[in-house]
């Protein structure tokens, strides 16, 4: 069987598999691989192949994860992180979309703001946390600001590029019909750039959680990021790994939800 056949086969089943058995059918080997890796982990810890206070067996981590869930504490930490991520994300979305559209359509504002944005853009998030602590302290203001800053760029960039790429003839046509500026934006520009905006929003969804966790690790006193550090210092790696597990589940679920919304809300969003 050539690569082409394989490609075609996989192409045909691009549509979501219908039943869980169907899903598992293709991925049985992958699930087995994960089970094998986890078993290896369990054994390496139980049989002392890896000796460390920070390498608990998987079973202990799962037990810790269950206990955390029962205790509810982990949900509070997760909620604290998600709250920061959500507020920062919302602020970044609003600013990114508005600025993206406005800057792409107005040369004056572009001259004024784009250079500033381009200066800040290449700055890696961890590098600005130390100076920002000195100005904003270590409270929510700092973390939300950092989340917003990091999430802003993908949203702004895709929106800006999307608007700039809108066919000028479309806008000219709208203009010949004396459509108002606002209506042009709503009826012509927006539908054309929504897929671009959505792509930026999706990138930012993953990013905002990572950055929230990161800022909590560096300057935290609550939230999952802080919990990861705290449990290390308390020598409870089982709790730490369990928290990572919850974090991964949250990230995965968010991505799924986003894709589902995208598929419903923007059915015309094809291949990018």
């Amino acid at each position: 069987m050539s690569a082409v056949d394989r490609l075609n086969v996989s192409d045909r089943e691009r549509s979501e598999p219908r039943s869980s058995r169907e899903w598992l059918g293709g991925r049985a080997s992958g699930v087995l691989l994960i089970v094998a890796l986890l078993s290896l982990w369990e054994l390496s810890s139980r049989l002392g192949w890896v000796v460390s206070a920070y390498w608990p067996p998987v079973s202990q981590i799962l037990a810790a994860a269950f206990a955390q869930l029962m205790g509810g504490e982990i949900l509070l930490s997760l909620a604290a992180t998600m709250r920061r991520a959500a507020i920062g994300y919302a602020a970044a979305s609003a600013a990114g979309i508005v600025l993206g559209i406005v800057l792409a359509r107005s040369r004056l504002l572009r001259c004024g703001l784009l250079p500033l944005i381009e200066i800040v853009r290449p700055m890696p998030t961890p590098a600005i946390i130390p100076p920002l602590i000195l100005f904003l302290g270590v409270d929510d203001a700092l973390k939300i600001f950092i989340v917003a800053l990091a999430s802003f760029f993908p949203i702004f960039t895709t929106t800006y590029a999307g608007v700039a790429a809108v066919d000028d003839t479309l806008i000219q046509t709208a203009r010949t019909f004396r459509t108002s500026w606002a209506r042009t934006l709503y009826a012509v520009v927006l539908p054309a750039v929504v897929p671009a905006i959505a792509a930026g929003l999706r990138t930012a969804t993953g990013l905002c959680i990572v950055v929230a966790v990161l800022s909590e690790m560096i300057a935290g006193s609550s939230g999952i990021g802080y919990y990861l550090i705290e449990t290390q210092y308390a020598m409870r790696p089982d709790l730490m790994y369990a928290a990572v597990l919850y974090l991964a589940l949250t990230g995965y679920a968010l991505n799924r939800v986003f894709l589902a919304i995208e598929m419903r809300a923007i059915p015309w969003m094809g291949k990018s």
Partner: protein, 319 residues
Amino acid sequence: MRRSLLSIGLAMIWLLAVPVSRTQAADLEKIRVSIIPIGDVAPLFAAIQNGYFRELGLEIDTTPSAGGAAGIPGLVGGSFDIAYGNVVSALLAAQQGLDVKVIAAGTNVTDPKLDATGIFVKSDGGIKSGKDLEGKSIGVNTRNNVIWLYARAWVKATGGDPERVTFKEVPFPQMEDALRQQRVDAAFMVPPFSAVAEQKGGLSKVGSPYSDIQPGVDVGQYITTGKVLAAKPEAVRKFVTGLRKGVEWYNANLTNEALLTLISGYTKADVALLKLVPVPTAPLRTDVSQVRKTMDMMIDSKLLPAPLDLDKIIDSQAL
């Protein structure tokens, strides 16, 4: 904003529900304190739990910062009124012109038997002194700070040249693994990690930099800024008073199980783990001569270019 609205709402409900004790609670002044979730701040938590601050009209809002990294920067940034930090950080901040003030003693190391910190090596590695470590490496949590400073002093005191020893930054939780995997040749460990590592065997303690080099060293302090001190002198004074009562209770209950439960409560560490760690007494007052010794060592290691005016840094109420 939403939180403040929520808290106002809750406060109003609470005011309506409990009118009797209203005056008492409404008068509480809130003091935000950055802490490191380790045994060092047990006296503070004892004072909180025993209600010493409430009696004085203070409400203490503690914010943990693992490893203490965000303490003094957060204090400078205005997130806290008071931060628990180490003496070297405080002096470094003062040297750069930041207006930090030591207002109360936190921890000191007086009894070598209760000094659970130390330089650890692999028992079969043959390293016994700083001399043996020349050309090798020591793990410290951060360079250019208190642990680093005393590790250097210990190397020097035991016949080695600190310039010929590599100091590698290793976070405390990872120190034991780094040593066992020989990624460092020695490690400066602190409790509870040191106690756990020692119990497992294979590692030996070859020195206790704090108690070997400078018996009585004032390691930790409660620090504020001149701005806070000027804005709410009364609240700071009450904080120091309440904390002293906490220290007294703590020193009287060193072997009490209740103390371990207290520490376990804010560190998340198991009581069984805490039982391995010796509990040292806590100081009531800052010893300026000890701080001066530390400062001289900092000058010696080129952390400071010149002596600082300690009278300006250490507030009189810490004495």
